[in-house]
């Protein structure tokens, strides 16, 4: 009864294989978000149009890229699991 079905084994193998890749993508997403937020917060100390450009053009883009990467990773992982099961 506790035997693993071929489908479960395949799913488990896939999860094992994707684990490091998932962790790697999350790390990358984390780095993008943390650097982006640091840039965003740093620019708030400066009242100059360039500060807004840096906020939106550097900080905003990095955060957006980090969030997009996170969502893409989660969706891919979830859909992969759903397909496997």
């Amino acid at each position: 009864m506790s035997e693993t079905t071929p489908a479960e084994a395949k799913s488990s193998d896939r999860a094992t294989a994707e684990g490091p890749r998932l962790a790697h993508r999350l790390r990358l997403s984390a780095v993008l978000i943390v650097i982006g937020l640091a840039v965003e917060i740093a620019t708030l100390a400066w009242a100059h149009p360039t500060a807004f450009l840096a906020f939106a053009g550097i900080g905003g883009l990095l955060v957006a890229a980090g969030v997009a990467l996170y969502l893409w990773t989660v969706l891919r992982f979830t859909s992969g699991a759903a397909v496997s099961s």
């Binding site: 684990g19 943390v34 620019t43 450009l53 906020f55 900080g59």
Partner: protein, 209 residues
């Protein structure tokens, strides 16, 4: 420090801690609670900080310091310190007829429903031209549209000094309708081209206006 900036710094620090925990212990993501924390740390908080940061920057953009930080605007800032108070910016700024830290914004925002948005959009356009185009010399800068009385009457309408002024009494209707411009008589404005040569007011004390 501005409370909003402090709040953003705190939210940023919380995000950093949560993200660091999840990166260092990715096995937390296998639990439901971990997934919720990840969603907050990787999605809700970063977007929240960005949204609040945008609001803080837009608020910053209303400050006098912000407006005169580009060198093409410096003579316009200088005009607020002219010793001769017949110049409108000097009289308004030095007498605190508008908040000194919102001096430019008080008079150069259209007091309409989308006046703020229009001002910000034009501001972004100015930044673009400043860096990637050919900015005009300070003395050559002109308004997009003729200055509207509405921007003056936003404060002056109803004020005794305006309503009972003998020069205004006979033309109040025309002024309200915009048929006569306030600037037809009050024509001493920024004088940006001569700003460097005109005598400036030297406030006593620490120099703060």
């Amino acid at each position: 420090m501005d409370p909003l900036v402090t709040a953003l710094a705190v939210l940023g620090a919380i995000t950093f801690v949560l993200v660091a925990v999840l990166v260092l212990r990715p096995n937390l993501l296998e639990r439901r609670g971990g997934k919720v924390i990840a969603f907050v740390a990787f999605f809700i908080l970063p977007l929240g900080v960005t949204a609040l940061g945008t609001a803080a920057h837009l608020e910053n953009a209303k400050s006098t310091e912000f407006c005169v930080s580009c060198h093409v605007m410096e003579p316009y800032g200088d005009s607020m310190m002219f010793d001769d108070l017949s110049y409108l910016p000097a009289a308004h700024y030095q007498n605190h007829w508008m908040p000194p830290d919102r001096a430019c914004y008080s008079c150069h925002t259209q007091y309409t429903m989308f006046g703020d948005v229009e001002a910000k959009m034009k501001g972004l356009q100015h930044v673009w031209v400043y860096y990637f185009g050919a900015p005009l010399e300070p003395g050559d800068i002109e308004l997009y549209d003729p200055y509207e009385n509405r921007e003056c009457l936003h404060c002056h309408a109803g004020a005794r000094s305006y309503e009972e002024n003998e020069m205004h009494v006979d033309i109040v209707t025309e002024l309200t309708a915009g048929e006569i411009s306030c600037l037809d008589c009050h024509s001493e404005i920024h004088a940006a081209a001569e700003a460097a040569d005109l005598p400036k007011w030297q406030p006593e004390g620490d120099g703060d206006v």
